[in-house]
Symmetry: C2
C-alpha cells in the first residue's frame, strides 16, 4: 500500500519541528516546505530546517524563496528599520506580525500539495500560548481549509492538520521530549542568528515553555 | 473626506482591466497589484499592466515577483516542457491551470491591503464563461473572503469584490466598451507575446466574446 503523503510547513522553530515529527510518527510520507522570506534570521532558520530534514532523513524537500515580504514590509521581522521589541510580551498584535503570512504560506503549500498529490498539510500554529497573531487561530485555519478545498481540483482533498494549535509552550516542550525531537537543532530567536537574544517575544515564549516543563534548553543564550 | 482605497489585482488581461476600471468608476483610490510569476508571456503582460496604469494615471503600484511557480510547475503556463493546448476548449480543468494561483494571489494582495489600509480588493475572476479553473468560482472567493477576514488584524476589514464573476465574455466586452476601457492595451494570449496566436483557450474565449458582442478586437492575431 502507498503511504499517505503530507506536506509539512517547517520553519525550523520548535513548533513546526514537533508538528513534522508528529506527522512522521503518524506514518506519513513527509514533504517538508520551508520559506525564505527575507526575515532577519533567514539563514539561521534555513540551517535549522536542513538540520531537521537530515535528522529525519527527508529527501523530497522544497525551499521556497519569497522576495516580496521585504517589499511589503510593515513588520519588524522583514523591515530592518523597525526594532524587534525586547521588553516583554504585551497585549494585542505585536509589530513582529507579518501581514497574512500564514495565509500566504498555506496557499503556497497548497499548490505544492496539489502537485505532489498529498492528502494532508501539517502546520505548527499555536493559538493559546503565542504572540497573538491573527493568522495562528483555529478559526482561521478552519476557514482556510474550506477555501483550499473549494479552490483546488475536484480530486485534491487536503486535510489541514494543526496538532499544536491548542497546546501551551510547556506542553509542546514536554511532547517534543517524549518524541525525542532534537530541540537543540531548532531556532526561535527573532533577532540573532548565533546566540539567541533571550529577550524577544519568541525567546521569552520558548524559555518560559522549557522552564514550566522543567526541562533544560540546550541552545546558547546571551541573557 | 478620504477616498476609500482598493487593491486591484491587474494581470493586464481584459477581465482584470475591466474590474480595475469598475473600481475607478466607483470612486476608489486604486492600488494596482501585478504578479510576474514566470508565465510564458510574463514580459508582455507586464507591459499591458504598465500601459493600463499609465492610462488610468495610477502611481502607487505593486509589481510582485514570484519565482516559485516555475519551481512548482505542473502547468503549461509555467512549465515550458508542457504544450499549450490549441485545439479548442475541452471539459474539465485544463493543463493551463496553475495550482491554487488565485489563492496565492489573493493572499499576497491581502498582505498589501493590510499594509495599505485598503477596504476593498477587486479581482476580475470569471466563473461562467471561462477555462473551468476551480479557483475562479464565486464559492471559492466567498470562502476566501471569510478566511481573509479571520486571519488578519481586527481593524482590517476587507471586502473582496469580483464584479465579473457571473458575466459572460461578450457581456465583459460590451461593458468594457461602455466604460471606454482601452481593450487594445490588454493582452490575453497564453502563448505569444507579439501577435496573439488566436487558438489557445484564452484567445478563443476572448475572440468569442468580441464576436458575440459584435465588436472588433483591435489586437493582431496570427490566425
Amino acid at each position: 500500500m502507498t503511504k499517505k503523503r503530507a506536506i509539512c510547513i517547517l520553519s525550523g522553530g520548535m513548533d513546526s519541528t514537533l508538528s513534522t515529527y508528529i506527522a512522521k510518527n503518524e506514518n506519513y510520507d513527509i514533504i517538508p516546505v520551508h520559506f525564505n522570506y527575507g526575515q532577519r534570521t533567514e539563514k539561521r532558520e534555513l540551517k535549522a530546517f536542513r538540520d531537521i530534514c537530515n535528522e529525519l532523513k527527508l529527501e523530497n524537500i522544497y525551499e521556497i524563496d519569497i522576495p516580496f515580504f521585504t517589499q511589503i514590509g510593515a513588520s519588524a521581522l522583514t523591515d530592518d528599520t523597525i526594532d524587534i521589541p525586547v521588553d516583554g510580551i504585551e497585549p494585542g498584535v505585536p509589530i513582529t506580525y507579518v501581514p497574512f503570512r500564514n495565509g500566504i504560506f498555506l496557499s503556497i503549500a497548497t499548490a505544492i500539495a496539489e502537485k505532489e498529490k498529498a492528502s494532508a498539510l501539517f502546520m505548527g500554529v499555536v493559538e493559546e500560548d503565542s504572540s497573538g497573531y491573527p493568522d495562528c487561530t483555529d478559526d482561521f485555519i478552519s476557514k482556510m481549509s474550506k477555501s483550499i478545498n473549494a479552490g483546488t481540483k475536484e480530486e485534491t482533498k487536503l486535510e489541514i492538520i494543526t496538532p499544536l494549535v491548542k497546546l501551551s509552550k510547556s506542553q509542546i516542550v514536554t511532547k517534543a521530549t517524549t518524541l525525542n525531537v532534537k530541540l537543540e537543532l531548532t531556532w526561535s530567536c527573532y533577532k540573532e542568528s548565533d546566540i539567541a537574544c533571550g529577550v524577544c517575544d519568541s525567546c521569552r515564549l520558548r524559555l518560559n515553555g522549557f522552564e514550566k516543563a522543567g526541562i533544560k534548553d540546550n541552545i546558547p543564550y546571551k541573557v
